[in-house]
């Protein structure tokens, strides 16, 4: 019943949002924003927001720097789409530089802005923030993309692109039906820390689109409302699964290879390089196709025999 109700609500909002007409009113956690006409100059404060806008055919006037050292600040899957020189906003927002870019609308759907920042930004242009009740970084990739599409008057395009990516996930699932129901753990291993991402995190969620489940032992470990949990090295057997995805920093996995007890696990291992890890983290309309391009062959190889190690940094 509840599911049906949610579906009905979703259908209602979809049908009303179908035809985006301006002036457009968007309600969000800080109040209401009215966008008078379809924005021509779009600024995004979202850490992967430039990807989504470029995928919708918009050249943003201001973009946010997140991490990575790339020309034009965009990661390789997106940089070819950018033809202009947008203002780059650092982690600490330079309000004047943003205002100087003269945006018609500012997107802040994955940006961590607070009420004070929202007030300042609203002096520059209408700001679209996360919907009420959602956390700063709580929106899924498709929700972000659709909201960005709606605010810029390109909801139809956004739906098409989101649909294409969903179709690619479905195609991969159909090509590898044996993956359904297999378990996958996603582990981060820095120099000193070790931990796992829970089923709510974007990485396991992306894998779930391919049919993989998070091991129940891990879900049981996860504190309520958390996306990841730190583990003791002695708890390594808990992360065992059909396949383990290892995330590290600087393409460095020697410390993972040396982890005591790793060889006692029955899993196959995939060492995820920085670029693919970044594509997971961005989970944007441009990075997700890249994830699929790299991930599907790697998983295929890892699961072809037991206890295989696929090192994606060795390219």
């Amino acid at each position: 019943m509840f599911k049906w109700f949610i579906g009905f609500c979703a259908a209602m909002t979809m049908s009303t949002a179908m035809a985006v007409s301006f002036p457009l009113t968007i309600e969000h956690t800080f109040g209401k924003t009215v966008i008078e006409t379809q924005p021509q100059r779009v600024a995004t404060l979202d850490y992967s927001g430039a990807d989504d806008l470029l995928a919708l055919g918009i050249q943003p006037v201001a973009i946010r720097y997140w991490y990575g050292d790339f020309p034009k600040t965009l990661w390789p899957w997106a940089s070819d789409y950018l033809n202009t020189q947008p203002t780059v906003i650092g982690r600490s927002i330079d309000y004047e530089a943003l205002a100087a870019a003269r945006p018609d609308v500012i997107l802040a759907l994955w940006s961590g802005i607070d009420e004070r920042a929202y007030q300042k930004l609203s002096l520059i242009a209408p700001v679209v923030a996360v919907p009420k009740g959602r956390s700063d970084y709580g929106l899924a990739w498709d929700e972000r993309a659709l909201l960005a599409g709606e605010a810029t008057g390109r909801l139809e395009q956004a739906k098409v692109v989101v649909g294409e990516i969903q179709a690619r996930f479905k195609a991969a699932r159909q090509a590898y039906p044996q993956w359904s129901g297999q378990t996958a753990s996603v582990v981060y291993a820095g120099r000193g820390d070790l931990g796992v991402f829970g089923a709510q995190d974007v990485r396991p969620q992306t894998l779930a689109e391919l049919g993989f489940k998070t091991p129940e032992a891990l879900t049981a470990l996860m504190p309520p409302g958390r996306f990841y949990v730190d583990l003791s090295r002695e708890a390594l057997p808990l992360i065992d699964a059909n396949v383990i995805f290892w995330f590290s920093a600087n393409n460095e996995f020697t410390h993972v290879k040396r982890l005591p007890g790793r060889s006692a696990l029955s899993a196959s291992h995939i060492f995820v390089d920085d670029l693919l890890a970044g594509a997971f983290s961005h989970s944007s309309l441009l990075s997700l196709p890249y994830v699929l391009d790299r991930l599907v062959p790697a998983v295929g190889k890892a699961l072809s025999t037991l206890r295989t190690v696929v090192d994606l940094t060795a390219r």
Binding site: G90, R91, S92, D94, A100, D114, R116, Y137
Partner: protein, 350 residues
């Protein structure tokens, strides 16, 4: 035979020398004027310069600012300038007061756990209740800072002759404990929330709203009479608790004064985050410029504190465009070497 010009030049020279003598005799007043002028100049520069666009003073005077420029000057730059000046002055005044009455040149608000108390309150709020707003954060910081001070007062011995030293030592202990709690919360809290807590802890002025700047200015204005009234007690206490007692300073005075410093620092930290170094360095900078009465020292140190934070904010804003360096980081990055240099210079002179 001296020409008229030569006489005039000689007289001018004598005049300049005389001027210098006057300035030297009235070092307090001249320094006061120079520092005030510096505050004004920095305020003007901060209003005119910025990454958005540099505003020309001429067009501002003529009232020819564009809409965008008005936004820059009044909404973005003015609150920062006012807040920077007030925060710098409040932190420096608190630091000077604490150094005077504890007779310890290491004393500053963070030594009494005020900064850490405020930080802990904000980190708890950000990590455990991420949907709470900016105003709540401000009050949490204020309460956190005050709570630590009240706790220390409760623990400190009633015997006032020993009181201040023990208070400082206990402050160090409590600060270390709170810092460990903060680290634990940031390490085990959600990463994104930790990042937004870090942003606050860097001590940034960029989201100060006009009403907050106004509030800071009002707090400063309200605290000035309190500082003024307490000056004689400060002067007596700076000679030691026994001398102060023999001069008729009541035994509870030092606690009252510490409470005053704590309030001043907590208000500042609540709005912009920790800028602890200013409270330590400003009184020392002034001490290097000459010998002043306790009263003059406090005012000059407050002006110096305002200059430090204003300069740090301006620099952090325009030096590395498009990246903004929070004022708290700039004060520490530039203040620490300056401080060391001053100490080395002082040793050379002595």
């Amino acid at each position: 035979m001296a020409t008229l010009e030569q006489v005039a030049t000689a007289q001018k020279g004598a005049g300049a020398t005389h001027m210098y003598q006057v300035l030297k005799q009235h070092r307090t007043y001249s320094l006061f004027i120079v520092l005030t002028a510096l505050v004004m100049a920095l305020a003007l520069a901060s209003l005119l310069l910025g990454s958005g666009s540099n505003v020309s003073l001429a067009s501002w005077i003529k009232g020819e600012l564009t809409v965008a420029e008005q936004l820059f000057v009044w909404q973005f730059r003015m609150p920062r300038v006012v807040a920077a000046a007030c925060v710098g002055a409040l932190m420096a005044a608190a630091g000077t007061l604490l150094q005077n009455i504890t007779r310890n040149s290491l004393a500053d608000p963070s030594l009494l756990g005020v900064t850490q108390g405020a930080c802990l309150a904000v980190v708890i709020l950000v990590v455990l209740f991420p949907e709470s707003g900016g105003t709540l954060k401000m009050f949490a910081a204020l309460i956190g800072g005050l709570a630590v001070a009240v706790f220390l007062f409760g623990l400190s011995p009633q015997d006032e002759s020993q009181g201040t030293l023990k208070l400082v030592l206990m402050g160090v202990g409590v600060s270390a404990f709170l810092a460990a709690l903060i680290r634990a919360l940031l390490t085990y809290g959600d990463l994104h929330r930790a990042v937004s807590a870090f942003a606050w802890m860097a001590g940034s002025l960029d989201v100060v709203s006009p009403s907050q700047a106004m509030g800071l200015a009002l707090c400063l204005a309200a605290l000035i009479p309190a500082f003024w009234a307490s000056m004689n007690m400060q002067a007596a206490l700076s000679l030691g608790a026994e001398v102060a007692a023999s001069l008729g300073v009541p035994s509870y005075a030092s606690r009252g004064l510490i409470a005053l410093a704590v309030v001043a620092a907590s208000v500042a930290v609540a709005v912009v985050g920790p800028l602890s170094f200013v409270g330590l360095i400003a009184p020392h900078l002034v001490r290097r410029l000459g010998h002043f009465s306790v009263r003059a020292h406090l005012y000059l140190a407050s002006l110096t504190g305002a200059i430090l934070v204003m300069a740090a904010d301006l620099l952090g804003r325009i030096a590395f465009v498009p990246y903004q360096i929070p004022a708290g980081i700039v004060t520490a990055l530039l203040g620490a070497p300056l401080f060391l240099w001053l100490l080395v210079q002082a040793r050379k002179l002595s």
